[in-house]
């Protein structure tokens, strides 16, 4: 293998609405892999939490979606894309504590309105775009260096 050839590992997870059996599997797998690869524990934790919140938002709020992860030695890129209701007011959705989760979901312990704010807090780069009635997509980057 060449010295300066930079590896990339790509992962893809399909997500389904209200699939609470699979819920959390994708982010768990991402966490396991990052640990095995030897990323700093703080990088692993931030990436895993961001991935978890993105994963749960698709499962809770959208119809179906996909989590794509691209790992390189320098950064972890997480893209969450879904088909669903979308977010009409992104500014509002980003506020701590804002949620539209119904009672049923809140009884399961979700719906604190902290998911998106936490993603923004843990990510080094964060991008959200959404089209009401169509879907939402998130781009999250975690730098592997000291962060």
């Amino acid at each position: 293998m060449e010295e300066n050839f930079e590896q990339t590992i790509s992962l893809q997870f399909e997500l389904k609405s209200h699939d609470f059996v699979q819920a959390g599997e994708a982010s768990s797998e991402i966490r396991r892999r990052l640990k095995k690869l030897g990323f700093a524990s703080d990088v692993v934790r931030r990436a895993a939490i961001a991935a978890y919140e993105a994963e749960m938002n698709v499962i809770i709020h959208a119809r179906r979606g996909r989590l794509q992860v691209e790992i390189t030695p320098r950064q972890i890129l997480i893209i969450a894309q879904d088909e669903g209701p979308g977010i009409s007011n992104i500014h509002q959705a980003m506020q701590e504590g804002f949620t539209t989760a119904p009672d049923m979901i809140r009884e399961l312990g979700f719906g604190a309105g902290m998911g998106l704010p936490n993603i923004r807090r843990f990510a080094d780069e964060f991008n959200i775009s959404s089209c009401a009635g169509e879907g939402t997509s998130l781009k999250i980057v975690i730098y592997a260096g000291e962060g």
Binding site: K36, L37, G38, S41, R45, I49
Partner: protein, 449 residues
């Protein structure tokens, strides 16, 4: 007593007895065991001395390295440190006081209950929460297997471990200091011995992780002493010795006892190494909120479930719960029950547990990624049965071992069989047997027509 780095482990393998079966490799929570050349091998860096493999081994090939009772002869004065779980090993008619008397009868010069150490640690924990120095979630430092699990698998959480020396060490220090004062004897002349219910405690004595040396000189197992204690119980004929610990301290031996003693309402109680692993993952992911204290024990049922006990853990738990209920009547603070102790003005020593993260696939991330990609390719060629016959706990683990150059594909009996068959075909073709046989078969078929 200070440990040299280069991991000490109390869980050992008797190579003679090991038949190379796969029971232990599947039970290990850190996947630290491989069978190589027909014998189990434990990876020193990954092993947390939880003792799961000891229970899993049908041939009793795994054992705990404990001290020989002869060690008692090396000291002028000896003190036994009985943990709460010991009290649960005897029928309800036997009181803790009688057990302490029996320990003296069988040869120790004095006893000091670990439960007293537990009370002192609990009081200090309560104080630190009160002053605001401790903020939740704090994970108990009591179970050494849990402490090591955190170091290896959850390095980020080491800073959440209660920064106080655990009850056994506190008991050891106080016992030694009190006796040395009382007898005017040098501390080194006093031998302090822990009566252990588990492997993990032995490891924590020989190689403590909090940055402080151990104050305990050796460990004898409860199993080892049980017959001697039983005999001595007859000698003491029901006469007891003053027992000092209250129900709060003795309760450390059963689930929930610690939480009760530290007095935090919002607490989590987890037992069993697998459950602890799950709970810690939830904690690391930030899913456990509003929790002050986490009582986590590697053994099912807490320390009464330790592998070196004699009685079934659940039976011992019922017995210990009864003892705790009876002792709960004691309400005077420890200092009043034991004035000498107050004079000692003892401060619980602080510890700091450092992370000891699991080795990644390679020391460099790019290299590790190449190995992960390679392992995935290898995994696709393996049968996916996770049978363990290769000596690794799963096909995935074997694939990673191969990618790291620690094993090879022929370890998989299915791959080996395929390769031998392919080789057989080659030889067969090379020798021209194939063609001759085909001709023969052709003749025969013709003949049959």
């Amino acid at each position: 007593m200070i440990s040299v780095r280069g991991y000490f482990h109390s869980v050992r393998l008797d190579r003679e007895k090991c038949t190379g079966c796969v029971n232990c490799i599947k039970k290990c929570p850190t996947e630290a065991i491989r069978v190589r050349h027909g014998k189990a091998e434990i990876n020193e860096q990954k092993c947390i001395d939880c003792g799961e493999c000891i229970g899993a081994c049908p041939r009793k090939a795994k054992y705990v390295e404990i001290d020989s009772l002869e060690l008692l002869n090396s000291y002028k004065y000896t003190i036994a440190l009985p943990p709460p779980s010991l009290y649960g090993q005897f029928p309800p008619s036997v009181t803790p006081g009688q057990i302490l008397a029996a320990l003296i009868d069988l040869g120790f010069d004095d006893v000091f209950e670990v439960a007293v150490g537990a009370e002192i640690v609990a009081a200090e924990t309560r104080r630190l929460f009160r002053t605001g120095e401790l903020k939740g979630p704090v994970i108990s430092s009591n179970c050494p297997a849990v402490v090591r699990l955190i170091q290896v698998r959850f390095p980020e959480l080491t800073k959440r471990i209660l920064p106080l020396d655990p009850p056994s060490e506190v008991a050891g220090r106080i016992a030694r200091q009190l006796k040395s004062r009382e007898l005017g004897m040098a501390e080194e002349d006093i031998g302090v011995f822990y009566l252990t219910p588990c492997a993990a405690k032995v490891t924590s004595i020989k190689a403590p992780e909090g940055g402080l040396p151990s104050y305990i000189d050796g460990a004898f197992s409860i199993q080892q002493l049980f017959p001697l204690i039983s005999r001595s119980l007859k000698n003491v004929q029901g006469r007891g010795r003053q027992q000092r610990a209250s129900g709060l301290g003795v309760g450390f031996g059963i689930p929930g006892g610690e939480v009760k003693a530290v007095g935090r309402e919002n607490s989590l109680i987890v037992e069993g190494i697998g459950n602890v692993d799950n709970a810690l993952e939830e904690l690391e992911m930030g899913h456990i909120e509003g929790i002050d204290y986490i009582e986590a024990k590697a053994c099912n049922g807490g320390c009464v479930g330790g592998i070196l006990n004699v009685v079934n853990g659940y039976v011992a738990q019922v017995r210990l719960e009864r003892i705790v209920r009876e002792l709960d009547q004691v309400h005077e603070p420890l200092e009043e029950r034991w004035p000498n102790l107050a004079q000692l003005n003892f401060k619980v020593p602080r510890i700091r547990v450092e992370p000891r993260p699991m080795q990644p696939l390679d020391s460099d991330i790019n290299g590790a990624m190449a190995k992960m990609v390679a392992a995935e390719g290898i995994l696709r060629t393996l049968p996916g049965l996770d049978c363990g016959a290769c000596g690794a706990p799963s096909c995935k683990a074997l694939a990673e071992d191969i990618a790291q150059g620690k094993s090879n594909a022929n370890s998989c009996i299915f791959i080996l069989r395929e390769r031998i068959m392919a080789l057989g075909m080659k030889v067969y073709n090379l020798a021209g047997i194939g063609t001759r046989m085909e001709e023969q078969r052709g003749d025969k078929e013709e003949g049959e027509e």
